[in-house]
Symmetry: C2
């Protein structure tokens, strides 16, 4: 009779017995169809209880290694397919998460510094949410997000951006990247999408990774051109009219109306308005969004808390025109909202209780101060006579145009050799035949002011090496 040396068992006896039998079946020692001893006999033979054998047999039955025939007993299942499968000759190395590149100075850093996140208020609101909203935290969130947060966002958009948006039009998601994929499902993957060139590369990357046809349209000093859209045969255009990245252009109202007229020319044309950093116009009132002058339901407004709060919080939203909101509920409301209820409620309280407005005001002051100090530092540096600043009063970055014969690529190489991370305009240009001006993007939102003078000196050296 089948026997095993149970004195070698380290865990429970049943588990050891289960492992032994399983191993023998997997190695073919016990053949398909072979009958196993009855529980009682096997137990007596091994000197253990019948229950132990039964538990082991039950587990093997659950996993399908054994089967029972009523009144006959336990038999080995046929797993002969196992012997046909050979391991791979060579397995790929398991990728290690890449360590971040080491820079001595980073002029492209756009993270929020820990000093600038309202941790204590956030912690307090999270604690209150957890203690007061247990029921709501466990209740399913509608696909577009919990109503409480959507109401808070609608009220914020009204007071801060002068927008009329009903909470029913607002769809909350885990980052704008996710929302783009929802928009592709809403509009249709067969549409021709179009983005600005130059522009933030990730947007085109996301459309293309989702197998949507994504083209580029050229910009002039007022933003993307209708001519460019026509050349690209665009149907859906994705733009950031308030503050284009990286050029900083604010699209004037005349161009906005041209784009709206273009969208109105044909059914199925839409404008995705990406308003990613509109909160940080440092002088004057915020620029009104296109959504507020759209009277034919052609504009989808997209915004995020990545710039206004922190990118690592992963909450974004969009405002769909009514007929698209209807389409969303019809076609896509089966999706669960991708943001945790815990954070939806916490953020809603953060907005409703006025903390968000205070935070934005505080950050505007901080960024304005930061910008002023950066400009002063540039003025004092040896670089000052070899660069012009191109900026439009808004956002958290500006362009530096160097007076040099060197192209952007060569300059960037020199900066890298000095361990300076500094993105050039060409980094955001999708047309390979473009010229490569020595224009660089200085992001001052999280710049290290103490090291800036030294970095500028190094940059100045790079120009004249």
């Amino acid at each position: 009779m089948l026997t095993y040396d149970l004195s070698r068992a380290q865990g429970s006896l049943y588990e050891y017995l289960y492992q032994c039998i399983k191993k023998d079946i997997r190695q073919g020692v016990l053949a398909a169809g072979e009958q196993l001893p009855s529980k009682r006999n096997f137990a007596r033979n091994l000197g253990i209880s019948t229950i132990t054998v039964e538990t082991a047999y039950d587990q093997l039955i659950s996993e399908g290694y054994l089967y029972t025939v009523p009144k006959k007993g336990y038999f080995v299942a046929d797993i002969s397919e196992i012997f046909k499968i050979k391991p791979l000759a060579k397995t790929a190395a398991i990728p290690r998460p890449q360590p971040q590149k080491e820079y001595e100075f980073d002029l492209s850093n756009h993270h929020v510094s820990p000093e600038n996140f309202p941790f204590s208020i956030w912690a307090k609101l999270m604690r209150e949410t957890i203690s007061e909203k247990k029921e709501e935290l466990m209740a399913g969130s509608p696909g577009g997000g919990i109503l409480f947060l959507r109401e808070a966002i609608a009220a914020h958009l009204h007071s801060f951006r002068g927008m009329e948006a009903d909470p029913g039009q607002i769809i909350v998601g885990a980052g704008t990247e996710y929302l783009y994929s929802i928009l592709i499902q809403l509009f249709g993957r067969e549409k021709r999408y179009c983005v600005e060139n130059p522009g933030y590369q990730k947007i085109a990357q996301i459309y293309r990774s989702n197998d949507a046809d994504c083209r580029f349209a050229a910009m002039d000093g007022q933003g993307i051109t209708v001519d460019g859209l026509k050349k690209a045969q665009a149907e859906i255009v994705h733009i950031s009219p308030t503050h284009h990245f990286p050029t900083g252009i604010t699209m004037p109202v005349s161009r906005r109306y041209e784009l709206l007229a273009w969208a109105n020319e044909q059914e199925g044309r839409y404008i995705i308005e990406d308003d990613y950093d509109s909160e940080f116009r440092l002088n004057g009132r915020p620029i009104p969004p296109m959504q507020s002058i759209d009277i034919r339901e052609k504009v989808v407004y997209v915004n995020t808390f990545s710039k206004s709060l922190a990118p690592t919080i992963r909450i974004s939203y969009m405002v769909l025109p009514p007929h698209l909101a209807e389409r969303f509920y019809e076609k896509l409301s089966f999706y669960s909202c991708t943001v945790s209820n815990f954070e939806q409620y916490t953020l809603a309280q953060f907005i409703k209780k006025g903390y968000f407005e205070k935070h934005i005001n505080r950050m505007r002051l901080f960024y304005a101060r930061q910008r002023k100090e950066v400009l002063e530092c540039i003025k004092k540096s040896p670089l000052s006579s070899f660069c012009n600043m191109i900026e439009k009063d808004s956002g958290l970055h500006f362009l530096l145009c160097f007076q040099t014969e060197l192209c952007g690529k060569e300059l960037k190489k020199r900066f890298q050799e000095k361990k300076i991370h500094f993105a050039s305009l060409a980094d955001y240009d999708q047309a390979p035949d473009c010229d490569d001006p020595p224009v660089f993007i200085l992001n001052y939102s999280n710049i290290d002011l103490e090291k800036l003078a030294a970095a500028l000196e190094k940059i100045s050296l790079c120009l004249h090496e």
Copy 2:
């Protein structure tokens, strides 16, 4: 000269002036090309300071309503496109978020009851995370999730599921629904996907909404069949072998090897193993996942914290075989992780400090007790002689098969009339020509035991009306 009655200003003078001029431009009162008064003259005329006029002009320039000509002055921009756009004759009604249907009794409720979520521990860990990890919370998370969480998941999978998974193979995302869309991008949208019939409808819905060809393959008593896969010409099959929903079938090891052999037959074939509720096998050891017997990198393992913690927390993960992990980093690592850093760190601590294991053990006891009470309640009810229970020891639901001539549809209608929510097997069947047995799915994870007896009595009445 242009003039406005500034005595009617309610906010700041500059804002009122800005609004007046803007309105006149938008209505064509001020025509394109028309010159505006100089700042000084206008200010003197209106009896206000030059600064006020300048601020209003600056804002109008930023928005593009005015432009300047050096040494000449301020001119009205051409926004004549505005007059070509007519508002929509009829706008769609803004959809209201649907109120939940009112049931008196819900036998399909799968939410986690607030009593069963570890709120106080979660609150404590969240507080600790916020106070101790400020730097990390603001640092960008890699596309696959923060390493700290992936390590915790890898260790959990090792001890709880006997799986070997390197943190580099683990990809964290905001829900399995999101991860499916990542898998489609990883495998290619042109592949033929295949899901189980019957099965959880949402899975096919997601593939189809992402424009992937998704087919159904029939099941027998051991799960999806290779024959069904061949008929469907499947390339990627999405299954839940540990515990199929709704039938409760655990796929035996022989069928698992058949499927692996099928996958190995051809390059590009893969198995997505959806292990959604493996933590809650109530008797015996957990069933080993297919991932652990896959020696040719054919299985993608997917799991979620929706069942084991709460669906509203929105954290799921997958374990990619090494070569697919490599492909992920190559093609898709530009995506930001969709889960907030705050919750990634909190969950990592929850797992690392042993709370997750304790929680699962506690919930297994709770569910076992719950199940026992539900079974006893059925036994005592008038229904007991008219139904059989089909269940496989695992998961949070079982099937009730009613002895009646009525079809599932008719029964369901009768239940609904009595305000009882009870899903039938046919609700999960995708083949319209199927028969419709009177089999219903009883989800006991969050069932209201106090009302159950009354509900069973009503159900019994429905059978005999």
